[in-house]
């Protein structure tokens, strides 16, 4: 279970589910995790596909953890270089992923062939 201080997480989404490929995401959805609950904290539309620009955008919001589906190594490195924890290779609806994150059970939502 997630407790401790509030944190801001970001989901790379396509519509109401996690985008199967991070780079295809049509929006980054932000959620604040507080008292074992999640609260919507905004949506970042994605004007630029440059990983550095996207990283700067989420860093500016104070995001600490990034959850996504498949992700290119280059994009992942760019995020991690900015100090963001990347939890990739996850599938599911927004709610499933958020609940999985709260309960530390993201392994149940692993994409096939990834063994998260």
């Amino acid at each position: 279970m997630k407790t401790a201080t509030p944190e801001l997480i970001c989901l790379a989404c396509y519509r109401d589910r996690l985008a199967s490929v991070c780079e295809n995401a049509d929006g980054y959805k932000l959620f604040e995790i507080r008292d074992d609950k999640f609260y919507p904290a905004g949506l970042l539309s994605l004007p630029s596909k440059d990983p550095m620009d996207r990283t700067s955008a989420i860093l500016a919001c104070g995001v600490t953890t990034f959850l996504c589906g498949a992700i290119r190594n280059q994009t992942r490195r760019s995020l991690e270089a900015g100090g963001i924890t990347v939890l990739p290779w996850i599938t599911g609806s927004e709610t499933q992923v958020l609940r999985g994150y709260l309960k530390d059970s993201l392994a149940d939502l692993a994409m096939p062939g990834t063994g998260v």
Partner: protein, 443 residues
């Protein structure tokens, strides 16, 4: 020809070298052959029953699905180039074909997609182009070859480098080449456009800030110099850097130290600086808008990149290069540029240099549905004026004359291959033969 009903389909599918999978109407994978497993790195047993986008993870998933497209348009998709992401994070170029699956009543019950690994084909194509290629820079003009000759020595040095050239000449590409050839190649390459950000944002973007430096600065943010530690920073449009930042830049170039916003301790960064501008920096120094001492610090090694108008012989290579890249990224079956469109491209002045050529081809790629890029796919400003001298109007003449001309040009475009010309025009070989025969009589 109908498929024999008593053949064991699974054995047939298992025997083919291409990956093949089927989905039901809810996008669940119902079959995944061995080759699909080999190419994607996912075992068939893991793939079956999962949503196809979780298994295939392609550049088309999330909104541009090929099978969905087939269902809507009632057409097959053949040989579309896309990429997929394997579980190790690497990208793999593949060519896909897709079709909807219907039951006996014509109702859609799912779809089938086959895919072929294009890694070797792409590598072979790259090798062929490497003859006229240096890192990612394409060309064989004398001006460029001179630069290719000295680039490795510039890369080996640690000297600050200034790239000069008109907008669109590929300054960032050269900066990347210098980085990739340098001993710092395993470190990061970080590019910043100094002209794109306002002064305050540029300062925090370059040098970072400390928590409490200003309202909302709740924690430290690393600047691009810190992110480039051990590598290279590329400062584009350095001529547009505001005066206050020029002082900070000068200090960094002198002793490799800088101070983040709100910081009290100077921070050291092991970063090589490559700067670029399309402005006349000497004039800017004379005008008092650019510091003379910074100019001399930057101007250790200077490389002037030639405009595209001075390297016309590189145009065919560049066109081929950009079309290959667009094909790989957008997955359209574009076979090249038609003769008359190529004539226009080869005789344009390109005031916007290579970037303008790239934009023209991207525009044409969007408009061209497939086959060859034609005149009408080029941007309007490249279209010849009606009745302009020296440009034959392809639609002038009788209907028969237009058909004969189209037949001749199609054969020429397909290097004399008549069956390929038939396919392009959608006519039978008898029709083509008749058109060519009357064409010869008409000469």
């Amino acid at each position: 020809m109908s498929f024999p009903k008593d053949l064991p389909l699974e054995d047939v599918f298992a025997s083919i070298a291409d990956g093949l999978f089927t989905v039901d109407a809810d996008w669940n994978v119902t079959y995944f052959n061995e080759a699909a497993g080999r190419i994607t790195g996912i075992l068939p047993i893991e793939a079956v029953g999962r949503k196809c986008w979780d298994v295939f993870r392609s550049s088309l998933c999330d909104g541009n699905c090929a099978i969905s497209d087939c269902m809507e348009r009632e057409e097959r998709i053949v040989n579309k180039s896309i990429f997929i992401i394997r579980s190790d994070g690497s990208t793999l170029p593949v060519s896909i074909s897709a079709s909807a699956l219907r039951d006996g009543d014509g109702k859609v019950v799912g779809g089938v997609e086959t895919f072929r690994d294009l890694t070797e084909i792409h590598a072979a194509r790259r090798d062929a182009k490497d003859i006229y290629r240096f890192e990612n820079i394409v060309g064989r003009s004398p001006g460029l070859e001179k630069i290719f000759a000295i680039l490795p020595r510039i890369s080996d040095s640690e000297a600050t480098t200034l790239l000069l050239g008109q907008s669109g000449t590929g300054k960032e590409l050269f900066a990347r080449a210098i980085h990739n050839l340098s001993p710092r190649r395993s470190g990061p390459f970080v590019a910043v456009n100094c002209g794109a950000l306002p002064e305050t944002l540029l300062e925090s973007e370059l040098f970072g800030y400390k928590a409490g430096a200003f309202t909302d600065a709740r924690k430290d943010k690393p600047g691009r110099f810190e992110l480039a530690h051990g590598g290279t920073i590329f400062l584009d449009e350095i001529g547009d850097m505001p005066g206050k930042l020029q002082v900070k830049m000068l200090r960094f170039l002198q002793d490799k130290f800088y101070e983040p916003l709100g910081g009290v301790e100077p921070v050291r960064a092991d970063v090589r600086v490559i700067a670029a501008t399309n402005r006349n920096l000497e004039q800017a120094v004379a005008d008092g808008t650019f510091r003379q001492d910074l100019f001399y610090r930057l101007n250790v090694v200077t490389l002037t990149l030639p405009p595209l108008s001075a390297r016309q012989e590189d145009l065919p290579l560049l066109i081929d290069h950009f079309l290959g890249e667009l094909e790989a990224s957008q997955g359209k079956d574009i076979r090249g540029v038609s003769e008359d469109a190529l004539h226009v491209l080869l005789h344009h002045d390109y005031p916007g240099n290579v970037r303008e050529l790239e934009n023209i081809l991207e525009y044409a790629f969007i408009l061209c549905p497939g086959g060859f890029i034609q005149m009408e796919h080029l941007p309007e400003y490249l279209q010849p004026e009606p009745g302009a001298p020296g440009r034959p109007d392809p639609l002038r003449g009788t209907m028969n004359a237009i058909k004969r001309r189209a037949a001749r040009q199609a054969v020429k475009r397909n290097n004399g291959k008549k069956m390929a010309a038939c396919r392009e025009l959608g006519i039978t070989k008898d029709t083509l033969r008749r058109l060519l025969a009357t064409s010869r009589k008409g000469k």
